[in-house]
Amino acid sequence: MIEVKNLVKRYGDKKAVNDISFTVEKGEILGFLGPNGAGKSTTMNMLTGYISSTSGSIKINGVDILEDPIKAKSNIGYLPEIPPLYVDMTVDGYLNFMYDLKKCKLSRKKHLEEICNLCKISHVRGRLIRNLSKGYKQRVGLAQALINNPPVLILDEPTVGLDPNQIIEIRTLIKKLGKNHTVILSSHILPEIQAVCDRIIIINKGVVAANGTAHEIAESITNQHKMTIRIEGKTHTKADKDEIVNAIKKIDGIKYVRADMEREKGIYDYDVETDGKTDIRRAINLMCRENDWNILMLQLSDLTLEDIFLKITVGDVVPEDAVSKPSPELDISVQDGELIAEEKLSLDKDKKGGEE
């Protein structure tokens, strides 16, 4: 459905997007995850033909966006980071305008009604967009993207600025849309991506850092499973502890076991690490039954998406690095009323050069 090959976007010397390739199948919800400034929006802007790529190719539904932009764009519904709303129009006027702009052939009244119901904006159709709250503006933006029923939906941070209830609503809506549409969704909010997307692409510094399901990405980074188990022995003494540790060690697939703190009187937590292939939960259960011990708690401490994200985008080395490296010098300037702090890149480079 969407085919991206060796996509590069260069702004002067800086490569905002550096050689990104991926494909999205029909009916898939793909999540773009990355820290601010990683190149998510730039990539999406290129996918929708708002900006052109420096090199590389994008095919939407088999149509190259540069060769036949009009045909390719007719397959896309796009909700940019800032919804492109004319605040001087009413919701109804705006949706009718977008309907005409997209040369939609579906029955006007019915189609717009359906979309408004889906996005829950039916009751504000007569109001000026200027007077709507941020959440409603976002929904009108989404409604606009849905006009003409495009097979591909590209949503840039669709839940930003919404309250928790609205976020859940929009997520449910996106899940629903994912059944009939191919969706690409960007976010820097991890639970959101995890909740909605079938597949995740993590973008960092303009390159694809990881591509797969949350589970696959986690596995590619680590091959161990960790869990914490709280087991109650019979005597509530330290003898219990040693006995239990020894028993756990005998289970197949265990790589490491260690008694942790005494959490309740005479009861200890045990940190267990496996080889990543064997599921030891049943074996542990069996062991406890045979010895007449009680499992009070069993907690898997696999890497969460959060851990993965940090691992990929910041790197494992950061703690040491942060200690040895002085905080970067900042160029602070005021631009358009916003305070902008930029790292003094050239200086930094010079220093590094000197050290080497």
């Binding site: 900006i51 764009k73 007719s74 492109p84 709303l85 004319y86 040369k103």
Partner: protein
């Protein structure tokens, strides 16, 4: 193109800009009509039309100032540029919306002709000649205004820059007379909007001038398309 045309027409009226434009245009042309035509007891409206050149020069930038700049500022251009339409449709939709409003404003002269008809005879050939001359002039000026608007995100900057650009075009005649090199002088005079327009008000319907104004409109619209296109590549 139709969708953008209708939206811009709607925006002109909901924002109130259309009313301001129409009022100011009618008021000023009315003054020139009263003193230049009624006051001099003539049925020839040419003097009003020649005085209106400078008014049109300052009014058209008001009409075009936000056409492109606001889109960029509010990021609504993202909606237009990712819609399945070409750049020419976007530019021409806006262009014809502004031109329509200008034609409506300009058509007030037909009301003036009623007053003349009451007291004398309307000189239709001269009136229509002048009417179309102003239409062609407006067509060219609007294209210039939209082009300048596409260069900035600030509508005030857009208005001031358009006025300056049009004013420089107006000054071409006086500038040319100070230049000794004959080729440059000739080139500048041939690019003069003012002398070509004034020629119409003197009763000469010069087809080459018509072609000149239409070409100017085309070229500046083309420049606007290029600006939009270039922004995607930068």
């Amino acid at each position: 193109m139709g969708a953008i045309y209708r939206r811009e027409m709607g925006a002109f009226f909901t924002s109130g800009l259309a009313y301001v434009f129409l009022t100011v245009f009618t008021l000023l042309s009315g003054i020139f009509f009263f003193f230049g035509v009624i006051g001099s007891a003539t049925s020839n409206m040419s003097s009003m039309f020649s005085s209106m050149f400078i008014i049109v020069l300052f009014l058209i930038p008001i009409l075009t100032m936000k056409l492109m700049s606001e889109e960029k500022k509010n990021r609504t251009d993202q909606g237009l540029l990712t819609a399945p339409i070409g750049l020419w449709s976007i530019v021409l939709g806006k262009y014809f919306a502004a031109l329509t409003l200008f034609v409506i404003a300009e058509s007030v002269v037909f009301i003036y002709s009623i007053f003349i008809a009451v007291y004398g005879e309307v000189q239709w050939a001269s009136l229509l000649g002048n009417y179309f001359a102003m239409l062609f002039l407006g067509a060219a000026f609007i294209a210039v205004g939209i082009f300048v608007s596409s260069l900035t995100e600030n509508q005030m900057a857009s208005a001031v820059a358009s006025m300056l650009t049009l004013f420089v075009l107006y000054l071409f005649d006086s500038l040319a007379s100070n230049i000794e090199n004959e080729t440059i002088q000739k080139a500048m005079l041939s690019l003069s909007f003012y002398s070509r327009y004034i020629e119409f008000t003197q009763g000469v319907f010069n087809l080459s001038s018509v072609v000149f104004f239409i070409s100017a409109a085309f070229i500046f619209n083309f420049f606007t398309v290029r600006v939009l296109d270039k922004r995607r590549w930068s």
